[in-house]
Point group: C2
Chain length 89, copies 2
């Protein structure tokens, strides 16, 4: 299933890695715990809109550009049902 | 403050109104309560990724196109701080 939090997490991680920054550094700057940020990046936690803004601020990216990346990556993702059908065949 | 849930709610409401459908009808189809959908549309509730998918399904729109609309509307929104400064002047 395509879950928004998976793509938001992936886009946040990609932005952080593009800046060669550590989870620890970005978490500190965003005032969230390292464990929390790690879970958000892996799509395991649903960040509130407020915390998402804090993380975007810490990364120096706008919410608008993050969501553009998210929309693009969802659009480019293969349909999960097709993958399942192919594996089952 | 620019909050993702405000824009997600606005985009969901716009999609529903473009189809001339009632809150009641879409809520029933998405298997959420009318009150909950109303709060989501007004940006007062943070929908989980799973419930967001249910609402998109009920509206017959893809998550990708919803997030494209969201990215565009955040990008087009006036900076809130400027509005506040103008009101205060």
């Amino acid at each position: 299933m395509t879950l928004l939090r998976t793509y938001v997490g992936g886009a946040l991680r990609a932005a952080r890695l593009a800046q060669s920054r550590s989870l620890r550094e970005v978490a500190k700057s965003a005032r969230v715990s390292l464990g929390y940020l790690s879970e958000v990046e892996r799509g395991q936690k649903e960040p509130s809109s407020e915390l998402l803004n804090s993380i975007c601020d810490a990364l120096g990216i706008s919410l608008s550009s993050l969501m553009s990346d998210v929309a693009l990556s969802i659009h480019s993702a293969p349909a999960p049902t097709l993958t399942v059908a192919r594996d089952a065949a």
